[in-house]
Amino acid sequence: MDHSQKVDVKTKVLLLLPFFLGASLSAEELTVHAAASLTDAMKEIAAVYEKESGDKLQLNLGASSMLARQIEEGAPADVFLSADEAKMDALEKKGLLVAGTRRSLLSNTLVIIVPANAKLLPERAADLAKPEFKRLALAETQTVPAGIYARESLQRLGLWEKLKDRVVPTENVRATLAAVESGNVDAGIVYRTDALMAKKAKVAAEIPAADTPKISYPLAVLQSSREPERARKLADYLASPPAQKIFAKFGFLPAN
C-alpha cells in the first residue's frame, strides 16, 4: 500500500508539472501582511481570490505591530491590512505606502472571554477587578492593536490601574485567545470575531462600543510591491462587496 501511494504522488507531480510551469508565466505571487485577527477571514478570501484571479496569495499573519516592523525592515510585501490606523500612519510617514491606496476597510468590537469550563463569569468589565480573576490575558498593551484597544477601554472604564498587574501579555490577539482556551488564565479580552472562532472559550461579556476607542482596520498597497498593479487589484477586491460579504460572515463590521 505504501508503495502504490508513492507512485501515486510521483505521477501527480509529473502530471501537475506542466501546469505549474505554464501557470507561472501568467500568475504572480502576492504577499499579504494581515493582522492576526483576520486569519480565518483572509484564508477564505485568499482561496476565492486565487481562483478568480489566478494569482497566488502568500498570507503573513501576526500582530500588526510585528508586521509593520517587518515592512519597515524591508520585508517584501505587496499589501498590508493592519488592525489599527497608528501602524499605517507610521508606515505612511516613512513613505512606505503607495499614495492614494490607503483606505479604512473594517471595524470590530471587543469582548471578554473565559475558558469554556469556567465557573467564574464576569458580567461586565468591572467584575474583572474581583480578586478571583487572578490573570487576564491581553495582547501586548503598548504595541499590538488588540492590546492597545483593550488597555484604552479599561482606562476609560477606570479599571486599568486595578488590573494592570494581572495582565499576561501575549504576542498577538490569537495568542490571547489560545491562553484563555488553555485555561491557564481566568479571562481575556479579544475581538468579537476571535471569540466567534473559539472552541474552548466563551464570551462572558461584551465591552460596549461607547467604552472602546474607535477600532479601524486600514488597508494599503506597499511601496515594496514588485507587482503594484496586481496589488492594487487585490486591494480593490478586498474592499469590494464579495470580499466584504466574507468579512461580514466572520463577524467583521464595515468601516465607520
Binding site: 505591530s65 510585528m66 516592523r69 519597515e72 487572578k134 490573570r135 501586548e140 503598548q142 504595541t143 495582565v167 499576561v168 501579555p169 501575549t170 504576542e171 491562553a179 488553555s182 485555561g183 491557564n184 488564565v185
Partner: protein
C-alpha cells in the same frame, strides 16, 4: 541604566540560581548513577537526560505547559493546593532548571568517572555502605567537577529563552528575564534598549564560564 533593567538582571540571576539549586540534588544523584559501572538501561537514562539539549526548547516548553498548566497533570494538583506555576516566576525557574539539567549531569558524570574506581572498591571491601562510599569518597574527589557542572548549568539557565517564553510568558516585572526582554525590545522596535541587556548578559555568562574553566581540573595541575 534604568531601574527596570536592573530588576530584569537581578531577577534573571535569581531564577537561574534557584533553578540550578533545584536540580543539584537530583542532577548529582543521576550523574553518579551514570558514572557507575555498566548497568541495564543505563544508555536509556543517559539519552533521556540529554534530551533537553536537543529537543527544540519551545517543544520542551510545550511539554512543561501541558504538565504544569492549570489543566495539566501536575498543574491541576498544584492548583488545588493554591500554587500557580504557569505565567509566574516559578515557571521561569522550572524552565531554566529543565534546560540546564543535561549540562549539570554530563559534567558531574565526567567528574565521577575520573575518580579511580579502586578507591570505592577498597572502601566497599572494608564494609562501607554505598551511601558512605558516595559521601566520603566519590563526591569529595569529584567535587570540583560537580561545581563546574553547576556553574555551567547556571550559565545555561541565564540564557534560557524558548521554554520560558512558552510557560512563563513575558510579563514585565514578573517573569521578564534578560533573554525575554531582549526579544521583547526587538519586537517593539527598540533595539537600542536591548543593548545594555545584551552587554550585561554577555558579561555575566563570560565571567561564569571563565570561572568554570578555571575550576576545571587540568592535566598536570592536579
Amino acid at each position: 541604566m534604568s531601574a527596570e533593567t536592573w530588576q530584569i538582571v537581578f531577577f534573571t540571576i535569581k531564577v537561574s540560581l534557584l533553578g540550578t539549586l533545584l536540580i543539584l540534588p537530583l542532577g548529582v544523584a543521576v550523574a553518579w548513577l551514570l558514572a557507575l559501572r555498566e548497568w541495564k538501561g543505563k544508555a536509556l537514562l543517559e539519552t533521556a537526560v540529554m534530551l533537553p539539549l536537543f529537543v527544540p526548547p519551545v517543544a520542551t516548553g510545550l511539554i512543561l505547559l501541558m504538565l504544569f498548566g492549570r489543566n495539566g497533570a501536575f498543574g491541576s494538583a498544584l492548583d488545588r493546593i493554591g500554587i500557580d506555576v504557569v505565567f509566574t516566576w516559578r515557571a521561569v525557574v522550572l524552565a531554566s532548571a529543565v534546560m540546564a539539567f543535561p549540562l549539570l549531569v554530563r559534567t558531574a558524570q565526567a567528574a565521577f568517572q575520573e575518580v579511580n574506581p579502586r578507591f570505592a572498591d577498597i572502601a566497599r571491601t572494608l564494609g562501607a555502605s554505598e551511601w558512605r562510599v558516595f559521601a566520603t569518597i566519590s563526591l569529595p574527589l569529584a567535587f570540583r567537577g560537580v561545581v563546574v557542572g553547576a556553574v555551567l548549568a547556571f550559565a545555561r539557565a541565564m540564557g534560557e529563552f524558548g521554554a520560558t517564553a512558552i510557560v512563563a510568558g513575558m510579563i514585565p516585572g514578573k517573569t521578564m528575564t534578560i533573554s525575554l526582554a531582549i526579544y521583547q525590545n526587538i519586537q517593539l522596535g527598540q533595539d537600542a534598549a536591548a543593548l545594555p541587556l545584551l552587554l550585561i548578559s554577555i558579561a555575566i555568562v563570560f565571567l561564569t564560564v571563565l570561572c568554570g574553566q578555571m575550576l576545571l581540573p587540568r592535566k598536570g595541575r592536579r
